[in-house]
Symmetry: D2
Subunit: 333 residues, 4 copies
């Protein structure tokens, strides 16, 4: 290889940021040169993240000093829209938050309870779901909005039905997520081990934040409820979609193209089969009893639902094959 | 108390049977006098079930010698329909299998891949879901069919919408079950700890066996898919039901009566809050975005979904208050 | 029954306190009439603890108004020694904290980093491990110090070897605890579900706080390290004790008396077999290869290790059979 | 790279074999060309192992057709000693079973209840624990016995104390293992998810099979008991070793050299911090209260305890840097 792609990870001690550091360490052509944390600047990343056997020393975020090719922003909503314009002068940016996902700023404000403002932003953010958008748009982007985890599953599972005109009514999306989706700093009682182990619960029964993002990308209204599974990683999304009378399973399946990271599988999937992998596995069935397509989609929310997809976007932006350095097999058992 | 109700548990080393023994040991008016196991007859129940600190010695099943007031049958489908007629000469029977749940014998045959036959049966089995049927029918029954676990949740959550004429389309029932539902003798790879821990998966995406039972009891067609949760006990059922235009949340809620074991709760529930309890907690919401009622129902599949409900039925049949000896609080954390 | 024993639970929303409420609700002769929480006074206990189907309204702690027979103190160290003297004027007290466990106040200060002071205390606290001390002492006590969870297992497993003079060197006590032992308000990253699931870790490798308590009760020095198991409840303590040359397994076993709640079992135990039960199961082996007795002890840390044992003490203090109202079977699976 | 190292994995659908396939797929210089399974020959490996996104078709084991550079044997004890001599004519062999670990054949027979016989074997097997033996011996070996998982932890944790002459009595080794160690075909009730979740239990309290292997490599007698943790992967070994009077922590620590895959860490470790990694993290403490060193060692039993260490051995045998293609970071959370 020539010179490595120089990368900064902003917010390196959260689950998304630390997963970026982990995955990029296996990337043959990229290197994390800066990892930031306000809380722990000056200490070793491995002290706070003992699973990372790295010598990186955490730094404060200083946009001026970030002389890198790519910046990954792994912060809460609100951070990226403030800092991206400045960072874009020197680097290309992949943002893992929701700040640049929604085209309609009123929807953003209603969804995230915060006015949208990104003073000085001169580029159009690109929604970075490679298997659902034109990859050339991502290749040419300087600012990519990395999709939400539930949104990734839902769009990949539902969009083919919409595009092929098979949908006939409101699809029900029942999604189940591992607890790591709540992040590493969410220390409410609900996320304590003792509370969540051997437990399964719903949340945001109506009005989840990913609904507008999904509806923007697929163009139809959805019924959506997420749930918490007593597992760390993994999202399983079951889509119950009413289809037009006479639709066959073959017609449905024909709409699902297979790519390196998005596969149609014959067996009903499980979340663990993609743990640590950038794959999404999709299973499609037709319920003739009711006339619904039933689409089951699995992902690792920290890989394809966050850090892995971010790196896939970086690969495209850097002109590399999209699969470069990304795991394809799951870690099992 | 006067003389205790004498009880036999047929199939005492499976999860349902052992749970009957456990719960009945806390019942003030009943006593397990016979516990059977073909495989382990002659050995102590506590050898195979070390969580039970009991002196019971397992016996072979011998219908002639069962001089008891109540027989609980906790066996695979096919056993009860063969033996119930004989047992009913001396005892009243609560069957935890599916043998007596379906009124239409052709549906039984199609569902369980076995002809239905119960030679000599002279009584009409009663479907034992106390909160959904006329309790007097159960009180007077000699043979009660204990409902399926997914069926219990779905009927309790969906029936009020049907009865009140609010439903407007096919309801989607997305159910999530703990692994104990598979039973103690299911030793396929899928149920190994190493495979299932940190994992979530679908099964029977279409055509699950509880569908006919549910549709029989509520009278409408349903879209149903169950899933496996990495927890031992607990079922969480999310019902997404399209409701008529203009339906309000108050109208929906009004249809859900509260009883000792079936409660409408304000917080989104979790399976563990009813672990070890005979309670079902139901949460009701209205998604105005799509016009769906979203009903979330939790149970412990071995208590309200099996052994606890069986005892509740026995209580009614014996003329006792239905809650006698049954736990109401969950074991947490 | 005559009049119920009136009970107050101080600190009812923590794991120990809530477990007291749960267990006492099944007690035939006692009734929780007051449940306190400073943080949530005025709200329903069931709002914060949705597993408890109770109408109790939380109150502030007010020693003057506590007109009850028994007060259970389920608070952090430091609270009981301050308030017990006042409470003892009207009630008998069982304290679940460490405040009254250590006879040597210097040891208390060194262990808990806090001077010991209980102004006005006029009685001698009794260490409430019924199977290891003279039960009459407990029966006559007005203030009982409920033992620590690791201490309960270790004392029950090790004391017989000491008393029978079989020990020949320093015993190694390697204990493994479920995460609920950390309590409900410990919201450090370490106790988050995502961090602890599928994980096992040591803590307090040397110098754990239960060591002085154990050594006080058995009179010998021990090597002790606890660990965290990815389970909510349960402690498994493995005691590797060097025994005198020529010691036989029969000699060892002979020292372990069986009682309702402490049993010697033939099979290697597991923590779940006592989940929800007040039992301790003990397995004894002799390693002839090295001359060590290997004693394995299991408990539910919230029952025999906390709330259950507290009720067992209350039973004795109230002149009841010690097992009154306490579960003997485990909840499985 | 030049031509890839051609590899056969014999027994590819077990946990060890499948992990070899997964890890080798990320190896830049090796390629699995043959994967065998008697039971499933002719089918896709990914059908039985859906986490592996591979096109490999399973074959029957046919020693004659194995034209590869390295054969990994991932079979039950007894298989390797039968087939290795034949395989060694064409390939170098790394055996993951116990067949070639024990030098004393009588000990093998007593431990594995099977006579040791490897007709035609002409080479001396090498015990392949790179950080504990002379790496050149491994480099020159044609047949390597891959160490046991508990043995790897124990030897790495205990050997420095022995070599430096600090040990003063029998060390107690209390080891805790994830359930994957039992293998994928062990379908006893004990390994069912419902039984093992939220559970912790001992096994082989005395006489575990790894004891002779450990004692052979370190030269001292040990007290050893393993336990099962409700996690899939990971071994945590706590070594309580009495040390000579006056030994300091610095003296102890000085004996533990750090290498790429074996690190001495300052924080008490957890199993998950090395999940998916070939690392072993070791923490050392001195208990001045009793005069014991307390050494805590963590590994992923399927990586450093099996497939990863096997690849590390292959790397050495092939003249590559030992870390080639092996993960160093853990998968968290």
């Amino acid at each position: 290889m020539g010179e490595a792609i120089r990368v900064a990870v902003v917010g390196a001690t959260g689950y998304g940021g630390a997963e970026l550091v982990r995955l990029l360490s296996e990337h043959p052509l990229a290197k994390v040169v800066i990892a930031t944390s306000e809380r722990l600047a000056g200490t070793r990343l491995s002290d706070d993240c003992p699973w990372l056997a790295t010598d990186l020393i955490l730094q404060s975020f200083d946009p001026e000093s970030l002389l890198v090719d790519f910046v990954f922003l792994a912060q809460e909503a609100g951070f990226a829209m403030l800092h991206a314009p400045n960072l874009l002068r020197k680097s290309r940016v992949v943002d893992l938050s929701a700040d640049f996902r929604l085209k309609d700023k009123d929807v953003y404000a209603a969804t995230y309870k915060r006015e949208w403002a990104s003073p000085g932003l001169e580029v159009e953010p690109v929604y970075g779901l490679p298997e659902a958008v034109d990859r050339d748009t991502i290749r040419n982007a300087t600012l990519v909005a990395n999709p939400g985890c539930h949104a990734t599953n839902t769009i990949l599972g539902l969009r083919p039905l919409v595009e092929n005109g098979l949908l006939d009514g409101i699809p029900v999306v029942d999604s189940k997520s591992g607890v790591s989706g709540a992040g590493r700093s969410r220390k409410e009682t609900d996320y304590l081990f003792a509370e969540m182990t051997g437990n399964f619960k719903g949340y945001a029964v109506t009005g989840h934040r990913h609904i507008p993002e999904i509806e923007q990308e697929i163009g139809v209204r959805i019924r959506f409820t997420p749930h918490l599974v007593p597992e760390s990683r993994g999202i399983y999304t079951t889509i119950h979609a009413p289809v037009k009378l006479g639709t066959t399973l073959e017609q449905i399946k024909a709409g699902y193209p297979t790519s390196t990271f998005v596969r149609v599988v014959d067996q009903i999937p499980s979340t663990k089969q993609v743990l640590g992998s950038n794959r999404v596995d999709i299973h499609v069935a037709l319920d003739e009893h009711t006339g619904f397509a039933v689409v089951s989609v699995v992902q690792d929310n920290l890989v394809k639902g966050a850090a892995g997809q971010a790196i896939q976007n970086m690969n495209l932006m850097a002109g590399l094959p999209e699969e470069t350095g990304l795991p394809i097999h799951g870690v099992w058992p």
